[in-house]
Amino acid sequence: MSGDVAPVLELDEVSAAYGPYRALFEVSFSVESGGAVALLGPNGAGKSTVARVASGLVPVTSGRVRVDGRDMTGEPAWRIARAGLAHVPEGRGVFDSISVEENLVLSFRRRAGRRMVPASLERAYASFPVLGERRHDRAGTLSGGQQRLLSLAKVLVVPPKLLIADELSLGLAPSVIDDVYAGLAEVRRSGTALVVVEQQVDRALALASSAVVLERGSVAYCGPASGARSVVERVLERRSRTHDAGKDAGPADRTTPAKAVSPRRA
């Protein structure tokens, strides 16, 4: 790893499993401070699992996870969050049963301090007026896009060291995706490092400086963003071929590591 500054996130030969189902096989990559990494791969490649391992939601079975130079392997999720890592999970990432404002307050109190809450709320509503209009509604009544904006508002106002955003664009209309990506770009300008998990390869690569491509739980590519597109296409093609041959799928298949591509280290 280069320089004197430790990377904000470093995965070192990380393997992970859901009970008996193995999902990651010795995945290694790192995110430099202030950098932006696109995490790409077909469905089921293990992108969300990487995100969950990094934030402590899924325990690793072997390997190390370092956040900001500190070894965080096996630490509970809340410790990792306090170390400065924010994870916006796939799908719904807000508390449905409390109000929009309470969602924000919950987050700001912990990360900005009690006294900063009113000012932070004001900034959030200034950036996302729609949240201000709905502040007293239960967050569950927001639309999918508005919920993503709510998640973004939390990190935008109090920037963490690293933001892992898992498929923020999923199920959104193109114009809303534009809003969300504008938000992400702003988060990045504030100095936060980014890991962007995406199906929309172009959007992610436009934002990121480097990319990691996963294939069946292993790293198929790790390097500058410019070189990722061809790998992604290759991986997708290979996948559709195995699908046609009917060899893929089935949990038994998942338990064997993919040998096709040897992971490269950063």
Binding site: G56, P76, W78, P89, R92, D96, I98, L106, R110
Partner: protein, 656 residues
């Protein structure tokens, strides 16, 4: 006006205790996601220990208060959280309800064993002296220390809790933790601690409510805490488990209205004897029927539940052919030996015990069907058994109908009641259904079974030989044994057939996911009613048999506590299989009989044992006996495999 006040004021301490309790229930539900049936037992425990310390050990009131409320209350809450509820997945309503019930059944039975058996009388009140009249609301309306303490403590607690929940970060985090602990952790909050705090606070409230109520009664009795529990559940249901203020107000109203009505109604009227005691249940049923939000309870889903690995597949028990043959042979041998022994050398006392166990087994089969197969929590199975028994008794008494024929008709009646119950609660599920059936059970207990026309008063109906053919009542004949054995075999076979047939598959699909089952075209409403009707018939058959065995049909034999205990017991041994029900029935009576030989103090321990067993339900939903059976089969298989060499290793598939 004067008179109204005179009647209403004595209702205030009750109302306040109900209110505190209801608020505690709502608080626990909102901050932990658990509807804690064990709450009443927690309150009772604190009151019991409080009385025990003051009465039996001469502690000062305040020291005892600290020991029983400030320390024991939150302590119990923390223990429940740490060892029980934190291990149950938030979506598993059945496990949460069963665990709560186990506490409700187990703790009151355990306390006299741990502490002492004697009655605890003259419990002091905290804050103000109970006997002293502080002021008058009117010439004839004195206000003594009990009222003052109750009102002050209740109001103070309500204010503190509303402030805690609505204005502090801890309150906000507690509400968020109910929805998703993981999402909360992602915010940098240690969710485990938040939930533990919530349990400690709710435990403190339970203790306080218990000690608050203690001085209003002469002795500290578990029974009072059940009334308390029901009134509080009703108040909490009216508030849709949401608003603590509404819960508190309804709680106070239930207490005050009950006592006011008690003052006005003539003591000999039907209203006084039947409707009044049932008042909290009527409120509860009304809330369950008409508060729409209660239908959507338990629907909040953790968005991060996809992080959990899928539950392990039910290990398909492919027993090796060799073991299968062995088990079958052993089973038939056991049956033959059992029947042979019962007919020949078995002492009459043990024959009676085992007969009773078989009668229980028939009732337990109804639990297997409704809960194990259909996945519906019914807390009224003992009531259904009672409906059949009382019907048969009345038919025999008034029309001279043969008791067995009456039993068949009675079982039909029980089916009908069960069907009606299912129809009334079509829109409820999970917790709502459990509460509805519990309310029905209590309604029968308080208002219907004790009625002169049903049971002939508390003494019950005495069976006479005239009603029964074949000398079934003769203590040392074997007629009863043959009858109960036959019915058990038929019922067990019927349940096994249902489980394996089309209906069983539909019911299993419904147990897995009602939405999913409805999606593939299963008529949920009809399947539910069917399951209830069938289980009503089984419970009725068992109830009739039990009545013959006891030779008297008393209301106490079929009360709601038994219904709760039934669920707890069956779940302990194994709720999924026919064998589980039979093991539960026989196990219950054998344990009780064996305890007869133990010191007096340990007599109540049978329920405690089963309650302890039920606490393992969350970890092993198949039941202890079934679990052990599987383990032993696996062990045997491994042994065989080793003996046969490597070729047979493929047979061992289960993980443990």
């Amino acid at each position: 006006m004067e008179q109204l006040l005179g009647f209403a004021v004595p209702g205030i301490p009750y109302g306040c205790a109900y209110a505190v309790f209801a608020v505690g229930l709502v608080l626990t539900y909102q901050t932990t996601g658990v509807f804690n049936f064990g709450y009443g037992a927690q309150a009772y425990a604190s009151a019991f220990v409080f009385a025990w310390l003051v009465d039996g050990h001469g502690w000062s009131t305040w020291a005892a208060f600290v020991g029983s409320v400030v320390i024991l209350g939150p302590g119990l809450g923390l223990v429940f959280d740490r060892f029980l509820f934190s291990r149950i997945a938030s979506t598993n309503t059945t496990a949460k309800v069963v665990t709560g019930l186990a506490l409700l059944v187990g703790i009151p039975a355990l306390l006299p064993v741990v502490f002492s058996n004697e009655n605890l009388v003259g419990v002091p009140s905290i804050l103000f002296a109970p006997g002293t009249v502080y002021f008058h609301l009117g010439p004839d309306v004195p206000v003594n220390g009990i009222y003052l303490s109750a009102v002050l403590l209740a109001v103070a607690m309500l204010v503190i809790l509303v402030l805690l929940l609505r204005t502090t970060s801890l309150g906000l985090e507690m509400r968020a933790a109910v929805e998703s602990r993981r999402l909360l952790e992602l915010e940098g909050v240690a969710a485990v601690r938040v939930t533990a705090t919530a349990w400690a606070v709710s435990g403190l409230m339970a203790g306080l409510a218990g000690v608050l109520l203690a001085p209003t009664e002469v002795t500290v009795q578990a029974q009072d805490y059940v009334t308390l529990m029901v009134a509080a559940i009703a108040a909490a249901a009216c508030a849709a488990m949401g608003s603590m203020t509404v819960a508190a107000v309804v709680g106070v109203l239930i207490g005050v209205v009950s006592l006011t009505a008690q003052g006005y109604l003539p003591t000999s009227s039907f209203w006084y004897s039947a409707v009044l005691p049932a008042f909290p249940f009527i409120v509860l049923v009304g809330a369950l029927l008409f508060v729409p939000r209660l239908r959507r309870l338990e629907q909040v889903q953790d968005p991060l539940s996809t992080v959990d690995p899928p539950p392990p597949l039910p290990t398909a028990r492919v027993r090796g052919r060799e073991i299968d043959r062995l088990v079958h042979t052993a089973f038939w041998l056991l049956v033959v030996v059992f029947v042979g022994s019962m007919l020949t050398w078995m002492p009459t006392s043990w024959e009676t015990v085992l007969n009773q166990g078989m009668a229980y087994s028939v009732i337990f089969l109804s639990v297997t069907l409704i809960t194990g197969t259909a996945g519906q929590l019914s807390l009224a199975q003992a009531t259904l058994a009672g409906v059949a028994a009382f019907s048969a008794g009345q038919l025999a008494r008034h029309f001279g109908l043969d008791f067995l024929a009456g039993g068949v008709l009675g079982s039909l009646a029980a089916s009908g009641v069960a069907g009606l119950l299912a129809l009334a609660s079509l829109r409820l599920r999970g917790l709502g259904l459990a509460l509805m059936t519990l309310a029905a059970a209590l309604l029968f207990d308080v208002a219907i079974f004790p009625a002169q026309a049903v049971s002939g008063g508390t003494g019950g109906i005495q069976l006479t030989a005239r009603w029964l053919p074949l000398d079934l009542l003769a203590p040392n004949g074997h007629a009863y044994f043959l009858l109960v054995f036959l019915v058990l075999v038929v019922c067990a076979g019927a349940v096994a057939l249902v489980q394996r047939g089309t209906v069983g598959r539909f019911l299993a699909a419904m147990r897995g996911s009602e939405l999913g089952a409805a999606g593939v075209g299963v008529n949920i409403a009809w399947q539910r009613v069917l399951a209830f009707v069938l289980s009503g018939a089984l419970a009725g058959a068992g109830g009739t048999l039990l009545a013959i065995q006891q030779t008297v049909i008393a209301p106490g034999e079929f009360n709601y506590q038994l219904s709760l205990a039934f669920v707890v017991i069956v779940v302990t041994t194994g709720v999924g299989t026919v064998e589980g029900a039979i093991q539960a029935g026989v196990g219950l009576v054998v344990v009780e009989q064996l305890l007869q030989y133990a010191p007096q103090r340990l007599q109540g321990l049978a329920f405690v044992l089963f309650a302890l067993g039920a606490l393992t339900y969350a970890a092993h939903p198949e039941g202890i006996v079934e679990l052990e059976k599987r383990r032993w089969t696996e062990r045997a298989e491994r042994l065989l495999a080793r003996r046969h060499g490597a070729s047979a290793t493929a047979a061992v598939t289960g993980r443990s």
